[in-house]
């Protein structure tokens, strides 16, 4: 009985165990189904997220691609523009180089011109310096005036001597006239001679006075002329000194 009991109890236990197992299996199945469903849901959610992210990324990449395409196009345009600019710059450079060459040539010509002007200024200064020695020539002419005036003075002295002789002849002729008058008829011929001598003496006196006046006129004309030459020489020398000074200043400004 007991045994039966035991069997009955064993059968009961087995049923229970079976029930438990069924329950466990059922629970496991439900759990598995739930897990699968959860997993599916989770997977679907994740998939959506990934898809969304991918779509966003794709959109972003597409935008980037468009931007890059635009940038590339812009870069191409910029490149073309730069190439044009480079070409223009190259042309400019060539022109500038040509201009520099021209300027260099002009500068060289200007330098040569300046040097030539400096040499010319030096020559003018030298020439003015040389021509200032003309003053010596004028002084030489002036010295000749002294010589001429000395000769004039000598002629004055001789003329005074002549005038003195003429005055003496006048006195002698007067005395002769007086003596001829005393001699009466016999002295008539002598009186004529004495009168003629007096007349000649008077003409000589006039001539001597005229000669004296001519000498005075000559003195004045000679002095005025030679002083004009001397003063003119100094004027020219002063002007040449001024030219020399200006040429020297010009030359110093060129260097």
């Amino acid at each position: 009985m007991q045994y039966m009991q035991y069997q009955k109890d064993g059968c009961d236990s087995m049923v229970v165990i079976q029930q438990y197992l069924v329950a466990v299996i059922a629970a496991s199945a439900v759990t598995a189904v739930l897990a699968w469903v959860v997993h599916r849901l989770r997977s679907a959610s994740l998939l959506r997220q990934v898809n969304d992210a991918s779509a966003a990324r794709i959109a972003e990449l597409t935008r980037d691609d468009d931007r890059h395409a635009q940038q590339f196009a812009q870069a191409e345009q910029d490149k073309l523009a730069l190439e044009v600019t480079v070409a223009e710059l190259r042309d400019d450079l060539a022109r500038q180089a040509a201009l520099v060459d021209e300027t260099r040539a002009a500068l060289a010509a200007a330098n040569e011109n300046r040097d030539q002007l400096a040499r010319d200024a030096q020559r003018i200064a030298d020439e003015a310096q040389r021509l200032k020695s003309l003053a010596a020539t004028f002084e030489r002419w002036h010295e000749q005036m002294i010589s001429l005036m000395t000769q004039n003075q000598d002629m004055h002295t001789k003329n005074q001597e002549l005038s003195s002789i003429v005055r003496h002849v006048v006195i002698v002729s007067l005395n002769a006239s007086i003596e001829a008058a005393r001699a009466g008829q016999a002295g008539r011929g002598f009186a004529v001679v004495a009168s003629e001598v007096r007349s000649l003496a008077a003409r000589s006196e006039e001539l001597s006075k005229s000669y004296r006046d001519s000498l005075h006129r000559n003195d004045l004309t000679t002095t005025a002329t030679f002083q004009d030459i001397q003063a003119g020489g100094k004027m020219i020398a002063a002007s040449l000194a001024s030219v020399e000074s200006l040429a020297s200043q010009f030359q110093s400004r060129l260097h």
Binding site: H142, L220, A224, M235
Partner: protein, 180 residues
């Protein structure tokens, strides 16, 4: 060819030069008056100086009688020196002052050295065909008495001459050396 302004200017310049250079001392007054006939005695000395320019030449003739008063006055600084030499030097200073003044109006001028002639030459100045020929009596009131001189200004022009000289500037009586 010499304008009336220029003639008056020449005369003003001469008068200024005579007043400043002829008296031996600045305290001696010097009066200048026009003279109809220049001194032309047999013993009268005439010291001639010429200032030349491109347009004209000016002759300054200073006449002096070599009498005792004049000799003592002009050689008072150095009685040993010959009167003619001393008087020529004074005339040179006077003409130098005219030259200096004229340089303000004419850049190119030259001056001669003085030369002494007989005053009997003076009537022939007209032979130079001057456009300005004026004589002046000059009296210097010195302590010992009055010294009488005369001067003739003779300007011959070769081109038109026209200027107005302003001689009102302060006198320089320092007596700078005139080189000739």
């Amino acid at each position: 060819m010499i304008s009336s302004h220029a003639k008056q200017s020449f005369e003003r310049i001469f008068e200024k030069a005579a007043r400043t250079r002829l008296p031996m001392e600045s305290s001696h007054s010097c009066s200048i008056a026009p003279l109809r006939e220049p001194m032309a005695g047999a013993d009268t000395r005439a010291v001639v100086l010429t200032i030349s320019s491109i347009a004209f030449r000016l002759l300054l003739i200073l006449h002096v009688n070599e009498d005792t008063a004049a000799v003592e006055y002009f050689t008072s600084d150095n009685p040993e020196r010959p009167f003619n030499e001393v008087f020529q030097e004074i005339c040179n200073l006077c003409c130098g002052a005219i030259n200096q003044e004229l340089l303000n109006y004419f850049p190119d001028l030259g001056m001669s050295t003085p030369y002494t002639l007989s005053a009997r030459c003076l009537p022939y100045l007209s032979g130079l065909k001057p456009e300005l020929l004026e004589s002046f009596a000059i009296s210097i009131d010195a302590a010992a008495g009055c010294i009488e001189l005369a001067a003739t200004l003779c300007v011959c022009a070769h081109a038109p001459v026209d200027f107005i000289a302003d001689v009102s500037q302060a006198e320089d009586t320092s007596g700078e050396l005139e080189l000739f």
